[in-house]
Symmetry: C2
Subunit: 330 residues, 2 copies
């Protein structure tokens, strides 16, 4: 059973509840929705079998999207905290939220604790490439890190891909400003030899232009760089689509060519759309926690819950706890 | 008069020489080409008036694209060093190279010296946005920097935009992982209050998704992040065009729609293409130095030389020398 934060996200609770219903209809899995009961009930449609699989647990407090994590973690009656409690108590196998990333992270660390050997939990996120997919860790959880943190990110990511995605020996790369060993800022230069010695599957540095070429399964960066890469990609893709729309549709409007182009663009957008891939797991806490984009709508929620179910069933957490995170420190 | 490194770049000397000829034909400006005389002469076509405006200075040594800067700066018979010498001696007003960025930078600092008050020269590069253009500084010169370096980058960039681009009060932003003051890694958090106090036109932090929206004229980042942002953008744009080509042209091949689409894509590609904008200046050295993309072809060389001429004529260097770069240090 999974717990979902009904109050987190720009379109909560409506789109969260709808996404949960879609998921339940399709899979028959049980979901606990945590949040303001009357608001959740208003959004629940009376369709099909879904109502029988959804339980509501009331939580009066709400963590807002702008709230400081230090404030949020004190709200013990919030949907975030009450949801995480269910995971802690073993009642639920995972917690899903499209809410305030910093607040969910801080609450998860405090409520569930960290896995032995992990200093900093990190967010891993899927990125579509020309040939398939790659995973970026850390997508924004930790802005200032040490080499041993990046090493731990790499180990956690490998365990995640091996279990939840059945990738046998995931290729790990460091994101840098040049391919050769010795390129990079101080952090990357110090991390390189650690990964080289300890990570089977380490392929060295890659550059920004290689991200979408699919040369690595796992791309390791600190959360500051990771966040900027993700948002730059998101912004650029949107800008190109705006330009295409302005440029091309003017000439093709109403024609068969226009129709074909529109369909193709939809396909490409779908390939690039975070909503298709749902949430991103927070690796390193003692429990399975997925954090979705604040703009998630029902499709992202449904898809996120599917990936989460796969992660729970894969035995990821058990394998992660067995991981060897020891490494020399400066 | 400008000096051009005929031997720098993936397509040197051929494309460099052709770009110089195009530039000279169009503008009537004089150019000195430095490099292996016999190789340059082989590429010079006998067209029009251009030969009369081009002087060749022989340089036997070549700095390769892979060479370490520490090695390159010792080659005093290279096209890079001999070209920079002409600027130092006041014979030429600017040096242009599509060669090894690190080597050209290190040589420029050594040969020309730094402007008083500047600890670290930086590369500023133009990026197209939805509404026009923005400038990113540092595009890759300095991987590990201090807050006072970012402050100096901001001041230099403002002087550059005011003089060479006649933008009156350029808006300056810090690239971060969130908009609010207090977001960012340690470097950004420490830089924010300095810019806030000292830079008129400082608009605060922006995120990666804002880069292409045209909200700022100048985006300040360290060279590690700057390089990754630029290359991520380049790689993603290329990937989207590959996907578009595969998806769309299959359906539209040979049709009128296909033709219109092809034209529109060319337009957009042109808008995003670094070649359209030519080189990026290295700000902070005692002289005007432009470093172009290694993949530059004749168009990029011609356009880069045009921007360089504009920069020389704008009095940029005189204004930069007057700049106030003083700031408290930690």
């Amino acid at each position: 059973m999974l717990v979902v934060d009904a109050m987190g996200g720009d379109y909560a609770p409506r789109e969260i509840v709808l996404g949960v219903q879609d998921f339940v209809e399709e899979t028959g899995e049980k979901i606990v929705l945590v949040g303001r009961e009357n608001e959740i009930k208003k959004e629940l449609t009376k369709k099909g079998k879904s109502l029988g699989y959804i339980e509501i647990i009331n939580a009066d407090e709400v963590v807002t999207m702008e709230e400081k994590p230090t404030v949020a973690i004190k709200k013990k009656e919030s949907s975030v905290w009450k949801g995480l409690q269910l995971v802690r108590e073993g009642v639920a196998q995972g917690f899903f939220s499209a809410g305030n990333t910093g607040a969910v992270m801080a609450s998860a660390v405090l409520c569930l604790g960290k896995i032995n050997g992990i200093d900093r939990p990190a967010i891993i996120t899927l990125l579509p490439t020309l040939t398939g997919q790659t995973f970026l860790i850390d997508a924004g959880a930790n802005v200032d890190v040490k080499p041993e943190n990046l090493f731990q990110f790499a180990v956690m990511a490998q365990v995640y891909l091996k279990t939840a995605y059945q990738i046998k020996n995931p290729r790990v790369a460091l994101l840098s400003n040049g391919e050769e060993e010795g390129k990079g800022n101080d952090l990357i230069k110090k991390t390189f030899p650690i990964l080289k010695e300890k990570i089977s599957g380490f392929i060295g540095n890659i550059e920004g232009k290689d991200i979408f070429r699919g040369v690595a399964d796992i791309i390791v960066a600190d959360g500051f760089v990771g966040n900027i890469v993700l948002k730059t990609g998101e912004g650029l893709a949107e800008s190109i689509f705006v330009l295409l729309k302005n440029e091309v549709f003017t000439g093709l409007r109403g024609s068969l060519g226009g129709l074909i182009l529109r369909e193709s663009l939809q396909k490409i957008k779908k390939r690039l759309d975070y909503a298709e891939y749902g949430g991103a797991p927070l690796l390193g806490v003692n429990g399975i926690v997925f954090i979705a984009h604040g703009r998630s709508r029902r499709l992202a929620v449904r898809n996120g819950l599917k990936v989460m179910t796969k992660t729970v069933e894969s035995g990821f957490l058990t394998e992660l706890i067995k991981g060897d995170f020891n490494v020399w420190k400066d």
